[in-house]
Symmetry: C3
């Protein structure tokens, strides 16, 4: 269809996702990783020559998102030296017009098609993508002259934005050789050689055009971005489908846009309020409620449990719980009556405490962020924004309002008083 | 229809309702205040000339219970100097036969009609109302000679009752002038000039007749009387009605006498067991149960919550709670798993602690009494008869067995022990 | 049909059932005591001459399992001196061929029929019953030569078993007189005269035959054996039946093999997942779940409660609880939100602590063992394998991980901090 090539940058290590041990581009949503959404969108835009550059640690996992017939080439970036180094780690990029995208940025399905159309129509040498923001957003802004890009400004102070367009990583170089040369010759003390090279080239060559983008854009930096990504995919990307092999009680209710995968069991009195996704072989138990959530494979959402606006990984077990606005990576179980509080009593925004920092999630509602292999005791309460590292155990009947490192065992010491009972208890 | 006039005494300040900041006669039941029940009953008995005397602080609120076409005259009692002063604060009462009633006493709908019939039939100068009690009741008793009233005895000792008739405030004076003169001339050190005047007049004039009343009677003194009043109104006064604009899931169950107001949503798996009232725009969430209760406007009774025999004001939010035999004034929310205990473990009568006093509610089942603007944390337990003042916050996972003053913040200090978890947690 | 006589040994005092105050053979399953199952099985095998030997303390209770037309003879064993003494306490046993069985051992219904057939076919003098075990079981093993029994070995070490057959108490003596003589003449320092006499007789007379038994066998020693017995009876013995007088909501679900007795109410949204038994006049409340359990008479399984794999005696009350793998003797109530934890957080086998001993239940899932007349407070958590003696009260909001003696009152002391609340709480 065209002679375009795309390079997907899959180098994100996701330090800020701690305690989650997930690679950002490989987080599954509705059974599909983000990198796969990006790949499918590129293919749908007619791009067939696709390369992926990734860290050595993730390459095997990343390959699992692809089939042989996808005909993807994989390259390894030996060290985590940033985007510029990633591009330079891929050989022979200078032969064909090149599109560079991030593996964990989700744009509208139509975005790549429109980008390719602009490439075809305009004969531009360079096209960079700006997402329109009416309000301030702390990102890299374009300096514009009409539709011509004149430069880049990283995180300008509020009210000093040079335009309303934030740079996204969706770049086009008709002649990548030129850009590669810039990448090789600039230097920077920060992890921004790519942007510095881009800015220098724009200014010296004076021929970069803007692709105006006004749709949704979601990347993943902090764990709660998984919830934001989930919301977009549930609402915009997921296509309603109920597997023929699912067993669904006629006494259950399924409303709105819902995907139910093969082998799922939906028992009596259950409500699934869409948009919602139920992964393979999971069971939604008697009188449970799942709404605006994704449930992974092999989960058991037991009796009278509510899962609301949460991302639940594989092999999680619940039993009369409330899980709201939470991320549970994998193999997490909650004892009966354990709940996540997802709203502060003072109804203020919820902060996350990480490595001495206090980070505003910007959310009024946020539950717990739990890594894999975690057990929560009966009647225990997890406070808003609590983080629990993998392989941890939280005892019964306690209130957890601080984070737990991985491999923690947390129990409450009680002061029980046991006396003689002098009341004779009889039958009512 | 007749030339009768009625004076409604709306002076009750409701000190004993603390922590509730409700004016007794303005507490709504099924969307209608008590004073409005009294007014409607008077109208139904053919009385069209109705005056209301009320404190300055409440007059604006009280007026909201009436429409222009109700043609009510309002008067202000400047200071809270009791019933006698209230009557004397209304000008020109001496022109017409006068009925005096309390704004917060509920009698059977037929009571006023029968009272008016007796007035018409008997040509009596004075008719006072006695409620028949077989057992002792701590109130003011009539001394009787046949159907003639010979005097009043305030709270006689048990087994010294002069009759089986307790005085209620439903009084008729053919010539109010005479009674007004008595009110002006007697004096008392206690807040009982009205009763002293009445007793004196009865004895000196010797022409008061008894209106024998054997129906229900409910007034509001302590907060749990709101539950008693609710029970009577649900059972005796409320007329079944389901608004056309309510959205009711066909998978819900509505049994018995139920009122569902406009804009209400009843979701799947809900049971409403009558008698019950659901106020405007409230939502009863998936698998919730409401029975023998009143729910105010704009409430959300969330997933798997049970509300039993409780009076719930406007804007209350619940989420997997048990609320039993409780009074929640307004804008109260309960976190997931929070419950009201409504039965002592020793199954004895429940006492309320107020201002150093210990008051027997006479009830085996009583939950919490909560004022407005209160937040209760997840998995918290409120013990029977606990009182919580307005603008208070109760933390998560604690047991509250004492009262909280208004603007309290109550949290439990836990003793958490965090160790290395040496158990390797694997998938089941 | 035949001239056989059976003697049922009902001497078990059930010390190891503490805190339960139940007599082992009188524990009801599906409305029928174990001794009655044994009796009915004997009758079905054509045995009409049946005697029962029991302790003085239990005889009145034991007689209640029988009707006059059952034509049973009862004998009292004055002191708890073991099986040999029990047999010797019954007069005139030497007249007829005799079968001796335990009152609290449950075998397959067909087992006694097959045993009687072997008696008829073989003309054996003595037939003893061996249950086939492929793996080691800590019991009394037979020494065999083909189908001839050559002796008994009590609890041989593992891998030293003389055969694969464990002795059960289902013995036949064509001439009981001979065995009675042995019982009279042997002596032992342990409580095993019966076994010693049997071993001696086998060796000296050399004519005992084996009845090979390969079906299920369950006796009751520790409280969790009640759960094992329940499982067998639910699966193998109970016959599906729903009383005509039960009131069952069309919005409830009853699946699998279920018995619902007279006067039972099953409310809306309930799930009963068989095998399950619901005793007379019990109510299963809105949105509750009962599965693989037995519920006694006059119980109330209230709103949103789950009872799973549990044996629940009469007059128990629940309200939004999870009761899993538990035994509750009688008149036990759980406050709202109270739960039994039935799985250790480390998912290891559950131990019971009794009289300084730590006994492995061999179960991964085990909840609480609760005697009669016990009250559990709201939101309280009972840890796996906890034992609670009768007439005890457990306070609200605590975690009980130790046993409670009878007549205990256990409460948690909390450290509440009450401050001024400076946040103004407004309506959402």
């Amino acid at each position: 269809m065209n002679n375009l090539r795309a390079l997907i940058l899959a180098g994100g290590v996701g330090k800020r996702l701690v305690p989650l041990t997930l690679c950002k581009s490989l987080i599954p949503f509705c059974g599909k990783t983000i990198i796969r959404y990006v790949f499918d969108d590129l293919k749908a835009a007619g791009i067939n020559d696709i390369k992926v550059i990734c860290p050595p640690a993730n390459i095997d996992q990343i390959k699992k998102s692809f089939l042989a017939k996808d005909n993807v080439s994989f390259y390894v970036q030996k060290k985590a030296l940033g985007m510029a180094d990633a591009v330079l780690s891929v050989p022979d990029l200078d032969k064909k017009p090149l599109i560079i995208v991030n593996a964990d940025d989700l744009l509208e399905g139509e975005a790549f098609k429109q980008f390719v159309e602009q490439i075809k129509k305009t004969e531009s040498q360079i096209i960079l993508t700006g997402k329109y923001y009416k309000e301030y957003f702390p990102g890299g802004y374009f300096v514009l002259a009409g539709k011509k890009i004149k430069g880049l400004v990283e995180k300008p102070p509020k009210d000093k934005q040079p335009s309303n367009f934030i740079r996204l990583v969706l770049d086009y170089f008709k002649d990548p050789k030129e850009f590669i040369n810039y990448l090789k010759k600039v230097s920077s003390e920060k992890d921004d050689i790519y942007e510095v090279a881009l800015d220098k080239m724009i200014k010296e060559e004076n021929q970069a055009d803007l692709f105006e983008y006004r749709g949704y854009w979601q990347s993943i930096k902090y764990p709660w971005h998984i919830l934001a990504m989930m919301k977009i995919i549930l609402e915009k990307r997921m296509v309603k489908n109920i597997s023929q092999s699912a067993q669904i009680s006629p006494k259950s209710t399924i409303k709105g846009k819902v995907v139910i995968e093969s082998g799922v069991k939906i028992l009596e009195g259950v409500c699934i309020l869409g948009p919602a996704y139920i992964g393979k072989n999971s069971t939604i138990g008697t009188n449970a409620l799942v709404r605006e959530s994704m449930i992974g494979d092999n989960c058991v959402v037991g009796f009278a449990t509510e899962i609301a606006r949460s991302w639940i990984g594989n092999n999680c077990w619940f039993h009369t719980n409330y899980i709201g606005d939470s991320v549970l990576q994998e193999n997490v179980s909650f004892g009966s009556g354990a709940v996540t509080a997802n709203l502060r009593l003072d109804e203020k925004e919820i902060f996350i405490h990480k490595e001495g920092e206090k980070i505003n999630s910007g959310r009024m509602k946020l539950g717990a962020i739990i890594s894999k292999n975690v057990r929560i005791g009966v009647n225990t309460s997890l406070m808003p924004g609590v983080i629990i590292g993998n392989n941890s155990v939280v005892g019964p009947g306690l209130v957890l309002s601080r984070n737990l490192e991985k491999s923690s065992a947390c129990f409450a010491k009680q002061n029980l008083e046991i006396k003689q009972n002098n009341v004779v208890i009889t039958c009512r």
